[in-house]
C-alpha cells in the first residue's frame, strides 16, 4: 500500500506550473513564428508588429530597459533566450524542467525526458541561432511542446496530478489567447474601414495563425471578418485555443480534482471558475464588441488572475515557501 491517492501540495503546485510553462513557451514560439512570416508579406511595418509581440508575451518595461528599440533581432532574443525575461522560451523551459525535476517520481520518465531533451536543445541553440533558419527553430520548439503534451496524455495516469498539469495548461492558454487578441485587434482597428482588402486579410489571417486557428476558422465561418474572428477566438466551444473552450476544460479539471460535480462548488476557486465558464456560455459577441472588446478582455484577465490566486491558496498554500516556482501570470 503506497497511498498513491495522496498528492503533495508541493507536487500539485509544480505540476500546475509545468503545465503553464510549457504552454507559455509554445505560445511564444508560435507568436514569433507567425510574425516572422507576416514580416515577409508586410515589409516596412516591423517595429509596430514586433512591439506588439513584446506587449502580448513579455514584459515591456524590462524590454525597454535592456533593449530599447523593438527590432526583430532584439525581440527574438528577448523572447527566446533572455533568462532575465521571466516569460522567455528559455526561461519557461528552464522553469518547467526545474519543476519537473522536483516531481520526477510523479510524472512519467518519458515526460521528464521530453522536457529535458527540449531544455538541452534550446540550450545548445543559444549560440548557433542564425546558422539554422529561424522558422525551423521555432517550429521545433512548438513541436517539442506538443510532444510533451502528447507524451503526458499517453504515459501518465489521468489522475489528480494529471489534472493539475492540465489545469495549468488550460488557464495559461486562455490567458494567451486573450492577450494576442487584445494587442492585435487594436493594431488592426484603424484599418477596420478597409474591410475585405487583401492587406487586411493577411493581417487577420496572421492573428488566427498565431493561435493555430486559421484553418479551423475557415471551416467554421469562411470569410475573414473581425467580429467573426473575435467570436471564434473567444466563444467557440470546439476550437481548443478558444477562451470559452479552455475555461470550460479548466472547470472540468478543477472539479475532477475536488470530486464535486460541475455546476456546483465547495471551494472559492471552483465558484469563480464556474461563474466565468457560465458567463461565456451566455454572452453574445455583439454585446462584447458594443461595450468594448478591450474592457471585456481586461475583465477576463482579471478574473483569471483571481482564479489563479484562489487555486494557490486552496490547494498549494500548505507548502511553506513557493520560491521554486514562477510568478503568477504575466
Amino acid at each position: 500500500m503506497n497511498g498513491s491517492n495522496a498528492l503533495l501540495s508541493r507536487v500539485a503546485d509544480s505540476l500546475y506550473w509545468i503545465g503553464r510553462y510549457i504552454e507559455r513557451a509554445e505560445n511564444v514560439a508560435r507568436f514569433i513564428g507567425v510574425n516572422l512570416h507576416l514580416m515577409l508579406d508586410l515589409p516596412g511595418e516591423d517595429a509596430e508588429q514586433w512591439a506588439a509581440l513584446v506587449h502580448a508575451s513579455g514584459d515591456r518595461v524590462v524590454f525597454r530597459e535592456h533593449y530599447g528599440e523593438a527590432t526583430q533581432s532584439n525581440v527574438v532574443r528577448f523572447l527566446t533566450f533572455d533568462l532575465d525575461n521571466p516569460n522567455s522560451i528559455a526561461r519557461c523551459v528552464q522553469g518547467a524542467r526545474e519543476n519537473a525535476r522536483s516531481v520526477r517520481d510523479t510524472i512519467s520518465s518519458e515526460m521528464w525526458e521530453q522536457i529535458n531533451t527540449m531544455y538541452w536543445f534550446i540550450d545548445s541553440s543559444r549560440n548557433s541561432l542564425g546558422g539554422e533558419p529561424l522558422f525551423e527553430f521555432f517550429h521545433r520548439v512548438r513541436m517539442a511542446c506538443h510532444l510533451f503534451q502528447g507524451v503526458a496524455d499517453v504515459t501518465m495516469s489521468h489522475n489528480e496530478a494529471w489534472n493539475f498539469l492540465r489545469l495549468g495548461r488550460k488557464l495559461e492558454r486562455a490567458d494567451k489567447t486573450t492577450r494576442i487578441l487584445d494587442v492585435k485587434y487594436f493594431l488592426l482597428l484603424p484599418s477596420l474601414s478597409e474591410v475585405g482588402t487583401p492587406l487586411e486579410d493577411i493581417q487577420w489571417a496572421a492573428v488566427l495563425k498565431s493561435v493555430s486557428g486559421f484553418e479551423m476558422y475557415r471551416k467554421r465561418f469562411g470569410r475573414m471578418g473581425p467580429n467573426r474572428i473575435v467570436e471564434f477566438l473567444l466563444m467557440d466551444r470546439d476550437f481548443p485555443r478558444a477562451v470559452h473552450y479552455c475555461i470550460h476544460c479548466a472547470d472540468e479539471c478543477l472539479h475532477a480534482i475536488t470530486g464535486n460535480p460541475q455546476g456546483s462548488f465547495l471551494w472559492a476557486s471552483e465558484q469563480k471558475l464556474g461563474m466565468l465558464s457560465s458567463e461565456l456560455d451566455y454572452t453574445r459577441v455583439e454585446s462584447i464588441l458594443g461595450a468594448g472588446l478591450h474592457e471585456f478582455l481586461d475583465g477576463l484577465q482579471d478574473k483569471m488572475n483571481k482564479i489563479d490566486t484562489a487555486i494557490l491558496q486552496e490547494f498549494f498554500a500548505a507548502r511553506q515557501d513557493s520560491a521554486a516556482v514562477g510568478s503568477a501570470g504575466l
Partner: protein, 493 residues
Amino acid sequence: MRFSSYRTEGFYDEMFQEDGSPRPHAKLLLESVESLSDGGLLRRKVAAERLLLQMGITFNVYADSAGAERIFPFDLLPRIVAAEEWGWIERGLKQRIHALNAFIDDIYHEQKILKDGIIPAEVILSAASYRPQCQGLDPPRGIWCHIAGIDLVRHADGQIYVLEDNLRVPSGVSYVLENREVLKRTFPQVFEGLSVRPVTDYPSRLLETLEYLAQSSSNARTVVLTPGAYNSAYFEHSFLAQQMGLQLVEGRDLVVNRDAVYMRTTKGLQRVDVIYRRIDDDFLDPQAFRADSMLGVPGLMEAYRNGNVALANAPGNGVADDKVVYAYVPEIIRYYEGEDPILPNVPTYMCWKDTDRAYVLSNLEKLVVKAANESGGYGMLVGPASTREERREFAGRIERNPRNYIAQPTLALSRVPTIIDEGFEGRHVDLRPYVLYGRDIYVLPGGLTRVALRKGSLVVNSSQGGGSKDTWVLAKPIAEPVAAMEPAVGGQQ
C-alpha cells in the same frame, strides 16, 4: 578497437592474466568487443553518453557553480566477477553486516563490547557519528543498517579487502541499475552468452525491506525523504521513489503532529509510517540534531523514539562506519559472530595510538591518510601522490587531532581496461556492493564499480574525477579451470 597493445603494466588486471591472456570469465566479452567494426565501440560510447544526458542522469559537483551539470562518466567496458568469487564476497558481506548491526545495537544499549575491553570506550564515545540521542532506542525489528554500501578493493596480491563501510546514506545504486540498462542495449549478444545475474529487482527488494518495518503491513504508507532537487544524489532519490512507486517528499512536505508524522497533501494531512531518508542525521530534525537545519522535520526523532514512525537507515548507525571503528571490525565480527571474518580488512594505523602515530608521521609518503568521519574522497592524503607541503600540512592536522585520523598502506588497486581517447588503457577500480537488511540479508549481485579515470590515480570518487562501470556477476562458473580465488586467511566458513 583491439586489445593487442593493451598492457597490464605489472598491476593486477581484472580481465587479463599476468601473461597477457584473457581471464577465462572475460574471454567472451573481449572477443565480442574486438569483433565490432572500426569505430563501432566509440559510436556506442557516444550514443550511451547522449542517452544518459537525455535521461537526466546528471549530478552537480559541489565545488562548481550552480547549474553546472555533468553526466556521471561511464565506461562501456564492464567489470566481470566470476561466480565462485562472488559467492565468497556475498558470504563475507552478510557476516559483516550482521555483526555491525549487532555492534550498533549493543553500543546504544548495554555496551558489552566496551565493558569487555574489546574496544576502548573513548574510541566509540568520541566518534563524531556516535549519537547520544539514540541511547536506549529500539528501532523497529532491531535493525539499524537497512541499506549499506561496502567498498571493496583488490590489491596487487589478488586478494579482495574491505576498504570502507558506508552505513549512513550510501548512494550509487541507481547508477548500477541505469548502467545495466545501457549495457544491455550495447552488448546484447554477450549477455546471452554469459548469463549475467540481473540487478533489476533491487527496487522490489528495497521496498520489501522498507515495508518490513511497518507496524501493520496492510495500510502503511512509505515515503522517500530527499534534501531536494539540488542535492547531488537527487536523481537517485527520485529514481528509487519512482521505481518503488513511493511518494518522494522533502522535509517541508512533512509535519509532526501529536508525535506522529504526516505529509501535506491537496486533501489535507496524511499519516506516514515508514521513511527511507536520504538526509544525514545532522540535518534530520533540528530539534534533535543541528538546530539550523532547513531540510529536516522538527519533532521527527521524538516520533521515531516513540515508535510512531520507522526510519531507514536508523539514525546513529554511523558509529559503525567511523574509520577508526573500522579498524576494529575484525574484532567486532569475532565478538558477535564467534567466527573469523571472511573478508579481510586493510591493515589500519590509528593515529590516536602513540606507536601508530609515530609510524604514520615518519612514513606519510607511503601511506593513505583519511579523516575518520569524512567520505566522498574529501579530507584524504594519498602519500605517494602528495607534495612535501601537503604532507607537512597533514602532519600538523594529525598532531592537532590524532583521534580523527587513520592511515593505511597505499594499495595497488586492481585495474580494468577502460576506453581512453581511442584505445584501451588500464584504470584502477574499486567495487561497492549493496546490502539490504530486512527479513533476511540480501546482497545485490554486482554493485557499483567505480573507476579512477585519471591516469595513475587511485581516487575513484565521482567528486574527484571518477567514473563508473557496470559490474557483471556471472551466474555459473566458467568451464575452464579458474585460479583459486579463495583468500589464504579465514576463507573457509
